[in-house]
C-alpha cells in the first residue's frame, strides 16, 4: 500500500518488534511442513544404510513386482529389488547432487557476475551475451545434447545444472556489483589504494551474497528435478546405482505390470521438491524486509 500504510501517522515514535527469522520460518504452517519434509529426506539419506533392511541392488527375480508389505514397505521393482532401500539410497544421490551442483553453480555464477560487474565494459558485454546464450537453451535439450557428447554420468547432470542455473546467479551478482561499484565506500577504498581483488572479496561479495543464497536455496527443488529427470531419461546415474529418476524409468517401462515402482519413484521426488519449495518460500518471506513485522495480506 502506498501512503495509506498499515502503520499510521505517529508511528515515527513506535518501533514494531518482529519475531526472529527462525521463529518466523517455523511458525508458518507451510514453513514448518517444508522443514519437516526436508528433514525426512536428509535423515533418509544419512541413515539409509541403517534403516533399509534390504540391499538396494540385490536382484531377486522371483520377487518382482511385489506389493508393499512389512518386508518391502514400497514393494519391489521389475528385478525384485527392494524399492524402499532404493528410494533411501537414491536420496543420497539426489541430495548430494543438489547441494554440490548448487554450490558449484553459485561459485561459478557469482564469480562470473563479479567479473562482469566490476570489469571493463567490453568484458561485461561479452559475458552478458554468454549468460543470455546459456540461458536460452531449453534445459532438457541441453541435457540431451551434452550427454550425446559425454555419455550419461553424474558429472553430466552436474554440468547441466551449472549451465542452466549459473547464468541467473551471474546476472544477479553482476547487477548488484554494478550498483555497489560506485558506492562511496568502494570509492574510498580505491582511493586508499585497495586492489580490485580485495575490494571485490572483502567489500562487494559479502554485501551481495545474502539474496543470492536465498535464490539459490529456492532453486534446489529445480536441481532435484533436473537430476531426477535426467536419470529418468537414462542420461544420469548409470545402473545399478539407484536414483529416483531411474526407479521411475524402470517402473515406467513396466507401468502396466505394476504401479508400485512408479509410485515409489515419484513419491520421494514429490516429497523433496515440495519440502524444499515450502521451506524456501518461508525462508524468503522471513527475510523479506517488506513483510517482517508488518501485517500479512
Amino acid at each position: 500500500m502506498s501512503d495509506t500504510a498499515s502503520s499510521a501517522s505517529g508511528a515515527a515514535a513506535y518501533r514494531p518488534r518482529g519475531r526472529g527469522p527462525l521463529r518466523r520460518i517455523l511458525g508458518e504452517p507451510l514453513g514448518g511442513l517444508g522443514a519437516g519434509l526436508v528433514a525426512l529426506a536428509v535423515l533418509g539419506a544419512i541413515f539409509a544404510g541403517v534403516i533399509a533392511v534390504h540391499d538396494p541392488i540385490t536382484i531377486a527375480p522371483i520377487d518382482r513386482f511385489l506389493a508393499p508389505s512389512g518386508d518391502h514397505p514400497f514393494g519391489t521393482d521389475n528385478l525384485g529389488r527392494d524399492l524402499f532401500a532404493r528410494v533411501l539410497f537414491g536420496s543420497r544421490i539426489a541430495l548430494s547432487v543438489s547441494l554440490g551442483a548448487t554450490f558449484l553453480s553459485l561459485l561459478l555464477g557469482v564469480s562470473a557476475g563479479l567479473v562482469a560487474g566490476y570489469g571493463p565494459r567490453w568484458l561485461d558485454n561479452g559475458l552478458l551475451l554468454v549468460f543470455d546464450a546459456l540461458k536460452s537453451f531449453p534445459t532438457v535439450m541441453l541435457a540431451l545434447f551434452l550427454v550425446t557428447l559425454t555419455g550419461p554420468s553424474l558429472q553430466a547432470v552436474v554440468l547441466v545444472v551449472i549451465i542452466a542455473n549459473a547464468p541467473s546467479y551471474a546476472r544477479m551478482a553482476r547487477t548488484q556489483t554494478m550498483s555497489l561499484r560506485h558506492a562511496e565506500f568502494v570509492l574510498a577504498e580505491q582511493s586508499l589504494g585497495a586492489g580490485a581483488v580485495r575490494i571485490i572479496s572483502t567489500h562487494i561479495l559479502p554485501n551481495i551474497i545474502g539474496p543470492l543464497l536465498i535464490v539459490a536455496s529456492m532453486d534446489i527443488p529445480v536441481v532435484v528435478a533436473i537430476e531426477a529427470g535426467m536419470s529418468f531419461l537414462g542420461l544420469g546415474v548409470r545402473p545399478p546405482t539407484p536414483s529416483w529418476g531411474s526407479i521411475l524409468n524402470d517402473g515406467f517401462s513396466y507401468i502396466r505390470e505394476s504401479p508400485w515402482p512408479v509410485l515409489a519413484g515419484g513419491l520421494p521426488i514429490i516429497v523433496t521438491t515440495l519440502g524444499f519449495t515450502f521451506l524456501g518460500e518461508a525462508l524468503r518471506d522471513a527475510f523479506d524486509p517488506k513483510r517482517s513485522g508488518g501485517e500479512k495480506r
Binding site: 500500500m1 502506498s2 546464450a133 546459456l134 551434452l146 550425446t148 507401468i255 504401479p259
Partner: protein, 314 residues
C-alpha cells in the same frame, strides 16, 4: 518504438550467434571424438577417419568455426545418419506436434490460471485464497514429468478416462489425446500464473490511482477488471513468453511418457541410435526458436503498455 524493435532484434541475433558458438565449443571442447561417438564403438578406425574428414574435423579450428556457422545459418544442419534426410526438414516436420502440446499447455494455464489468480486477489486471506496458494506452490514445485507419469498411471491406465499413447487421428481425437499431456505440462504454469497474477493485482491495488478510482465510487468489479487487471496482466504475459522455453523441456517428457510424435521423442530416439546430427540440429533449432519467442513477447509487451510505448517513442 521502431528503434527499440531494431535494437532488440539485433540483440536476439547476437544471442543466436553466441548460441551457435556455444554449441560449437561444446562439441569440440568436450573430450571424445564426435565422429567416433556418431558411429558407435564398433566402427572401424578407417570409417571413423572417413567420417572425420567428411565432417571436416581434420581442418584447422578457424576454418571449422566458419564452416559451422556457414552451414548452420544456411539451414544445412546435416543429414540423418540412418535415412539421410535433411535434419532441418525432419525437425520442421515434427515441430507442429510439439507446438500443439505447448499451445495446449498455455491454454490450460491461461484458462485456469487467470481466473484463479483474479478470484484469489479479490478475496485475499480467505479459505479459497489459502487453498489456491498452497496448491499453486505445490504444482509449481513438483516436476512436470512426475505429474505426467502419475497422470498417465491414474487417469489413463487406472481409470481409462484418457488415451495413453499417440496423438490421435482426426481433430476431435487429437484434442482428446492432447488433454492429459498438455495438462501435465501446463499444471505447474496454472499455479505460477495464478500466483503471479494475484500478487500483481494486490500490488496494483495498493497504488494511488486505484485509491482515486475508489474515491470516485467505482465498483470493485469495474476497478479490478478494467483498471487493475489491465496493468497487472502485463508481467503475467511476460512470464508466459519466457515460459514457452520451459514448456518445451516439459514437452519432451510428455512426448516420451505419452508416446507422442514430436521433437522430444525425435531427440530421445536419436540419442539411442547415436544420430548425432539430429541432436545437434534440434538443439540449435529449439534454442533459436526460444530466442525468437522471447523477442516477440518482449516487443508485444512493450507495445501493449502505453507508458513503455510512449517512452520508447521519444
Amino acid at each position: 518504438m521502431l528503434t527499440y524493435a531494431v535494437k532488440r532484434l539485433g540483440l536476439a541475433l547476437a544471442v543466436v550467434g553466441a548460441v551457435i558458438a556455444v554449441v560449437f565449443v561444446m562439441i569440440y571442447v568436450i573430450p571424445g571424438d564426435p565422429a567416433a561417438v556418431a558411429l558407435g564403438p564398433r566402427a572401424s578406425p578407417a570409417l571413423v577417419a572417413e567420417l572425420r574428414q567428411r565432417m571436416g574435423l581434420d581442418r584447422p579450428l578457424p576454418i571449422q568455426i566458419v564452416r559451422f556457422y556457414g552451414s548452420v545459418l544456411s539451414g544445412h544442419l546435416g543429414n540423418d545418419i540412418l535415412s539421410n534426410e535433411s535434419v532441418l526438414t525432419i525437425i520442421l516436420g515434427l515441430m507442429p506436434h510439439t507446438l500443439r502440446l505447448i499451445l495446449g499447455a498455455m491454454s490450460w494455464s491461461i484458462l485456469l490460471g487467470i481466473p484463479l489468480g483474479c478470484l484469489s486477489a479479490m478475496r485475499p486471506g480467505s479459505i479459497f485464497d489459502r487453498i489456491t496458494a498452497v496448491l499453486s506452490v505445490s504444482v509449481i514445485a513438483v516436476p512436470a514429468f512426475v505429474i505426467a507419469i502419475y497422470a498417465l498411471l491414474i487417469f489413463s491406465i487406472g481409470l481409462h478416462w484418457f488415451p495413453a499413447i499417440g496423438a490421435g487421428e482426426d481433430p476431435m481425437d487429437e484434442l482428446y489425446h492432447l488433454v492429459l499431456p498438455s495438462l501435465a505440462i501446463g499444471l505447474g504454469w496454472v499455479g505460477y500464473i495464478a500466483r503471479m497474477l494475484r500478487a500483481s493485482i494486490l500490488d496494483v491495488q495498493g497504488e494511488n490511482h486505484v485509491r482515486t478510482a475508489r474515491a470516485f465510487g467505482l465498483s470493485e468489479r469495474k476497478i479490478v477488471f478494467d483498471y487493475v487487471l489491465r496493468i497487472a496482466i502485463l508481467p503475467t504475459l511476460t512470464v508466459l513468453g519466457i515460459g514457452i522455453g520451459q514448456m518445451l523441456s516439459s514437452a519432451v517428457f510428455a512426448e516420451i511418457v505419452f508416446a507422442r510424435p514430436g521433437i522430444g521423442k525425435l531427440v530421445y530416439d536419436a540419442i539411442i541410435t547415436r544420430n548425432y546430427p539430429i541432436v545437434t540440429g534440434t538443439v540449435l533449432v529449439t534454442t533459436a526458436f526460444f530466442v525468437l519467442v522471447n523477442l516477440i513477447a518482449d516487443l508485444f509487451i512493450a507495445w501493449l503498455d502505453p507508458r513503455v510505448r510512449y517512452s520508447l517513442q521519444r
